[in-house]
Each structure stands twice: as C-alpha cells, then as structure tokens.
Symmetry: C2
C-alpha cells in the first residue's frame, strides 16, 4: 500500500480529499508499524493543532474498511498500520516496544481447517507473535548499562 494508491481507492469509494487525510496516510507510509489513535493524533496535531479525536477515529475506521489500513488490538488499544503489500493472507511478528512488524507467510489455519469443523463455523482467527525486535533489544541493553 502507498499514499497515491490509497487516495485513489478513497476517491473511487466516493470519499472526499482533504489535506488531513493525505497527511494521515503519509504518516502510515513513513512509519511502517502499528500506531495507536493517540500517536496518530499527536503527530497530525503538529501541523493541525485543532485536529479533533473524532476526525482521527473516523478516518482510521473508513481506511480500515477500505483495506487501506490493518487493525489489531494490542494491550487493550486499537493499533493501525498500512496494509502490507502482499495481498496474500499473512500474520505478523510484533515488537511490543516500537510496534514494528515482520510478516510471516505461514498461517496455522492451513493445517487446522480440516480438523476443526464438527458444527463450529469459523469466522475468523488471530495469530500474532509478540516480543522485542533486535533494535529495541539493543536500545534496552544500552539503557541498562548506564544505570
């Protein structure tokens, strides 16, 4: 996903162009990681001091419906990121420090689908691996050394 493509999808779906929407998309293009609504708000308020929370949540929601953003819930908060370029279904390694992710191609449902049924109708699943990325680990170690 990229900003231009996202803006096109937006137009096609009948949504209006606004500078704020473009900047929001640009933010996700720059930060390739999960962001909270608050982080988005804080970032956009640098250029648009009066920006309201409502605007952020509303736009995050519509972009998610258009599959421009991916959403997941981490530690009780909604987190958003630009949809991965790979159209194929996939999962993520998620760094809980910085929100950066790495894709995993394999999906556990491939193995399980067959054994599951028995009347249970599967409507979705969540597979996420949490931890700390190499970079954050280094940062932490440095901090610890200075104590």
């Amino acid at each position: 996903m990229n900003v231009t493509k996202a803006l096109n999808i937006m137009k096609e779906q009948g949504f209006k162009y606004t500078a704020k929407r473009e900047e929001l998309l640009q933010l996700f293009s720059d930060e390739k990681r999960y962001l909270t609504a608050k982080e988005v708000l804080n970032s956009l308020q640098k250029n648009y001091p009066g920006m309201s929370v409502d605007t952020v949540y509303r736009n995050l929601a519509i972009f998610e419906e258009m599959d421009i953003l991916e959403m997941t819930e981490l530690e009780g908060e909604m987190h958003f990121r630009f949809s991965c370029s790979t159209t194929a279904h996939h999962h993520h390694l998620i760094c809980l420090e910085c929100g950066k992710t790495r894709e995993i191609e394999t999906c556990p449902m491939d193995w399980l689908n067959e054994n599951v049924d028995g009347g249970f109708e599967v409507t979705g699943h969540k597979f996420e691996i949490y931890g700390m990325c190499a970079e954050c680990k280094r940062t932490k170690q440095k901090e610890a050394a200075h104590v």
Copy 2:
C-alpha cells in the same frame, strides 16, 4: 481446575477465604466458558446485592496470577475462564456468541520457532479461532425462522 483445588491454592498463597471468592470460583466451575467482568458481577450480585466492581476485578486479577483463571481479550473486553485441566500449552476455538470454547492441542509455534529468530526475542503469542458453535448456530436459525 475445580473449586476445591482453587481454594487450596488461594490459601497456600496467603489469601483469605471469603464466601464471595468461593461463589466466584463456583460460577466459573458451572459456566465453562469465557465470562466478562460484568457477567461475573451481575451473577454474584444476585446473592450479594452490594458487591462492588472493585472486588470483582481484584479477585479476577489475583486468580489469574495464580493460574486459576485464564484471561484473554475479546472485542475490547477482558474475558476469564477456569483454567483448562490439561496442564499442557494449548489454544482455543472460541464461540463469540456464548463464550464457549474447545481446546486445540496443536500450537503453531511448534512449527515456527526455528524460522523466527533473527534477533527477534519472542515473549508470547496468541492463537485463537473465532466463530459460532453448533448450538448457537441452531438458536440463530430458529430465531431467523420466526421473523
């Protein structure tokens, strides 16, 4: 897990016995499914009208720390259930209608652990399959027929 065993663990850890705690445990023993804090509160308030939310959340938290209860976050809310009898690591099929679960023995991490690393330190993972159980599906179909 069962009520007696849970009460013993509680004692061993230096927590006091209270009738409310026993009843809370009994509730989870009866309802073998994920319950929200609110559902727990409502249920206990039948016998203890003045029961406070604080008491519910505090006890849910301590029972989870003692591994008497399992916690997961579904649709933005904490959900609790009696820990499964199988001590082995496992995952769940979860009915989003009624909260009932079915265990899955296989864990996708068994396959992935080897390929993951690259400096990423795995601290946890979540694998849950969502849907509707056979029973809820029947109920829904009946409802639909009456419209």
